[in-house]
Amino acid sequence: MKTTENALQVHNLIKYFHDPQTFQVIKNISFDVKKGEFLSIIGKSGSGKSTLLYVLSTMDTDYEGSLEFNGERLTGKTQNQLAAFRNEHIGFVFQFHYLLPEFSALQNVMLPALKLGKHSPEEIEHRAYENLRLLDLEEQALKKANKLSGGQQQRVAIARALINNPSVIMGDEPTGNLDSKNSLAVQDIFRNLAREFGQTIICVTHDNDFARNTDRTIEMADGLILNQ
C-alpha cells in the first residue's frame, strides 16, 4: 500500500521556549513522512520530541520554518482554519485518554464526525459502531467513558481518532499508560491501519519495543535529529 508520495513535510523547523528563559528546543530540522508510513519518534525527556509532535499536530503555531500536509502549506493559517483542518485530516491519541467523561463511548467516537458534518448523524452512528467493533468495544458503546478501563478508554480514543478517516493519526505516548497486553493490542491496531487503510501514523514514544515495531524511527536529542 505504500506510495512514495509525502503525507507531511517539515522544512527548517526551529522552535523556542520563552518561559522561564529563551531556550531553543528544536534546532532547524527537516524531514518528510510518506503516505501510509508508520513512524515513531523517540528520544530522552527534553529532547524536543513531544514539542515536535505538537508542531506537527498544528495546535502549536509558534515556530519558525514551514509545515506542509499533502502539499498544502499550513504555516501561517489562522487558528480557526487549522481547527477545521485538524478536524478533517488529523486524528489524535494521547497518553491520558482524554475522553469526554460525561458522554458515552459511542458519543465520544461520533463527536469529531458530527463536528465535520459531512454525513448524516445516522450514518455517523453506524460508522462509529463499526469502528468500535473493529477495536472490540461494541459492548461498551453505550457506557459512559469514565466507566471504562484504561485499555478500553485508549481504544475508544483510537476509534475516535479514526472516525473522520484522517490522513494522519498522531499519538503522544499512546501506550504509555497501558499494560504490555493492551500496549501490544494498540500497536497491532496501528500497524493494521497503516498497512490496510494506508493511513500515516506518527507516534512519540519512549518505549523501544514499540519503536522497533514501526516502519521508521526518528531519534531526537537536544532538539536535533540523531538518525532516521
Partner: protein
C-alpha cells in the same frame, strides 16, 4: 455540502452544551435558582411598589383634582395713592385698609365652557369652599364646607362610594341636606336625619339636615369637612348663581398637566395650578419609591449574575482538559464560546420563565395579606406588563453577560498547554 455543514455544527455544540447541563443537575439548578430568584424579586418588588404608588395616588386623588382653578386675591395690591401723586412724592399712609376687588370665580359657567372644549379634559366640577363653625347644642367645631355639584363631584372623586350612611344623591334631592365627614359627625354627636347648625364668618347661621356620612380615609378631611349642594351653599353665602371658589378639572393623563396649564393661563383670568406644583411631595414620594424598587431588584439580579459567573467559571476550570480535547479534535474557539453561551442562555431563559411564575406567585400571595389602614384591605399589588418585559430582558442579559466572560476565557484556552500539562 456547505449548507449542511452550517446546519450541523450548532447541533453538535448544542448537544455538548446540553450534556454539560444535564450531567450536573445540582449545579445547573443552583445557577437556575439564582436567576429565578432575581427575576421573581424584580417582579415582586416592582409590582408591590406599583401597588403602593397606585394606592397612594387613589387616596390622594380621591380629594385632589389634576388641575385646580381659583382666584388668588392675595396677588392684587393696587395702591391708588401711587397713581395720584407724582413719583418721588413722600407719602405717609397709616393703617392701610385693603379692598376686596374680586373674590372667587364669578363666571363659572363661562370658564367651564372653555374647559369643556379641551380634548384632554375628562371631568370638571365647580366648588364653593368656605370655613364655618358647626354647632350642635353647646358644641362648636370649626371646619369647612364644600358646596358641590353632586353628580360631577362624584364623577371626579368617586365620593359617592365613600358614603357610609345615607346617600350622596340625596344632596341633589334635598336642598337643605348636608353630608358630614365621619369623625366630624362623631364629634358633633349627630347621626342621619339629625339637624346641625352652621355659622359662617359673616355671622349667618342656618340649620341643615344630615343626609349622609362620608369616610374618605383622609383623616384631616373626615374630621372637618361637610358637603352641601352648591346652590344651597351659594344661597348661604349670599353669592350669585354662577359663583364658585374653585373649579376642579381632571385630565385623561394626570402626568400631562403642563400643556393644559400653560394654555389655560392665557385664556382664563384666574390662577391655574396643576397637582404637581400643589403637591410636590406626592410626586417625590412616588418617584423615590420607584428608584428604591429598581435599585433593590437590580442588586438582586447582579448578585445572581455573580453566582452564575462563579458557577460557569468553576465548570470551565473543571472541564479545561475536555475543552482542550475538543479543540484538538477541531472545534474552534467560536464553537467553544457557543457551547458555553448556549448553557448560559438555557439557564437565563428557563430562569426567567420560572422567575416570572414565582414572582407572580409571591405577589399574589402578598396581595392576600390583610392590611387594614387608610381604606386598604390587603397589601396592594399592581402588575405592569413593562415590568415583566424588563425582568425577562434583564434576567437573560445578566445571565448571558455572566456566562460570556468565562466562555470567552474557555474559547481562548491553548490546547497544547493543557494537554502537555
Amino acid at each position: 455540502m456547505q449548507q449542511q455543514t452550517k446546519i450541523k455544527k450548532p447541533t453538535v455544540n448544542r448537544q455538548i452544551a446540553w450534556t454539560h447541563l444535564s450531567s450536573k443537575p445540582g449545579q445547573t439548578l443552583v445557577a437556575l435558582l439564582g436567576v429565578t430568584f432575581g427575576v421573581s424579586m424584580y417582579i415582586f418588588m416592582n409590582s408591590f411598589m406599583n401597588g403602593v404608588n397606585q394606592a397612594q395616588d387613589d387616596l390622594a386623588f380621591s380629594t385632589l383634582a389634576h388641575v385646580r382653578i381659583y382666584n388668588d386675591d392675595d396677588k392684587r395690591s393696587y395702591n391708588p395713592a401711587e397713581s395720584f401723586f407724582d413719583a418721588g412724592t413722600l407719602l405717609n399712609i397709616r393703617n392701610k385698609k385693603s379692598l376686596q376687588y374680586t373674590d372667587g370665580i364669578k363666571n363659572t359657567s363661562q370658564v367651564m365652557a372653555t374647559l369643556e372644549k379641551q380634548p384632554e379634559v375628562t371631568g370638571i366640577t365647580p366648588q364653593l369652599n368656605f370655613s364655618v363653625f358647626f354647632r350642635n347644642g353647646s358644641k362648636k367645631i370649626n371646619g369647612s364646607i364644600s358646596g358641590v355639584q353632586p353628580a360631577s363631584e362624584n364623577q371626579l372623586f368617586g365620593i359617592g362610594s365613600k358614603v357610609i350612611a345615607g346617600s350622596w344623591k340625596q344632596l341633589d334631592v334635598q336642598k337643605s341636606g348636608i353630608i358630614l365627614g365621619k369623625l366630624l359627625a362623631e364629634k358633633l354627636n349627630v347621626s342621619l336625619n339629625d339637624n346641625v347648625n352652621v355659622l359662617n364668618s359673616d355671622g349667618v347661621s342656618k340649620n341643615y339636615t344630615v343626609v349622609g356620612i362620608v369616610e374618605t380615609s383622609v383623616k384631616e378631611i373626615d374630621k372637618s369637612r361637610a358637603y352641601l349642594n352648591i346652590a344651597t351653599a351659594r344661597q348661604f353665602q349670599g353669592k350669585n348663581f354662577d359663583y364658585s371658589s374653585d373649579i376642579q378639572v381632571n385630565l385623561r393623563d394626570r402626568d400631562q398637566t403642563a400643556s393644559l396649564v400653560s394654555q389655560l393661563k392665557s385664556t382664563v383670568p384666574y390662577q391655574v395650578e396643576s397637582w404637581q406644583t400643589a403637591n410636590q411631595q406626592l410626586l417625590a414620594a412616588s418617584q423615590l419609591r420607584s428608584i428604591i424598587a429598581v435599585t433593590v431588584s437590580l442588586t438582586i439580579l447582579l448578585v445572581a449574575g455573580f453566582g452564575i459567573y462563579n458557577i460557569m467559571n468553576m465548570t470551565i476550570n473543571e472541564k479545561i482538559r475536555e475543552i482542550a480535547i475538543l479543540k484538538a479534535m477541531g472545534f474552534s474557539g467560536g464553537d467553544i464560546l457557543s457551547i458555553f453561551l448556549a448553557q448560559a442562555a438555557v439557564i437565563g431563559v428557563v430562569g426567567a420563565i420560572t422567575g416570572v411564575l414565582l414572582g407572580l406567585g409571591i405577589s399574589s400571595a402578598v396581595n392576600l395579606v390583610p392590611f387594614k389602614i387608610a381604606g386598604l384591605t390587603t397589601l396592594p399589588i399592581s402588575y405592569i406588563p413593562a415590568d415583566f418585559v424588563s425582568a425577562i430582558v434583564f434576567g437573560i442579559a445578566t445571565t448571558l453577560f455572566a456566562g460570556y466572560l468565562p466562555a470567552r476565557k474557555a474559547s481562548k484556552i491553548d490546547p497544547v498547554v493543557i494537554i502537555r500539562g
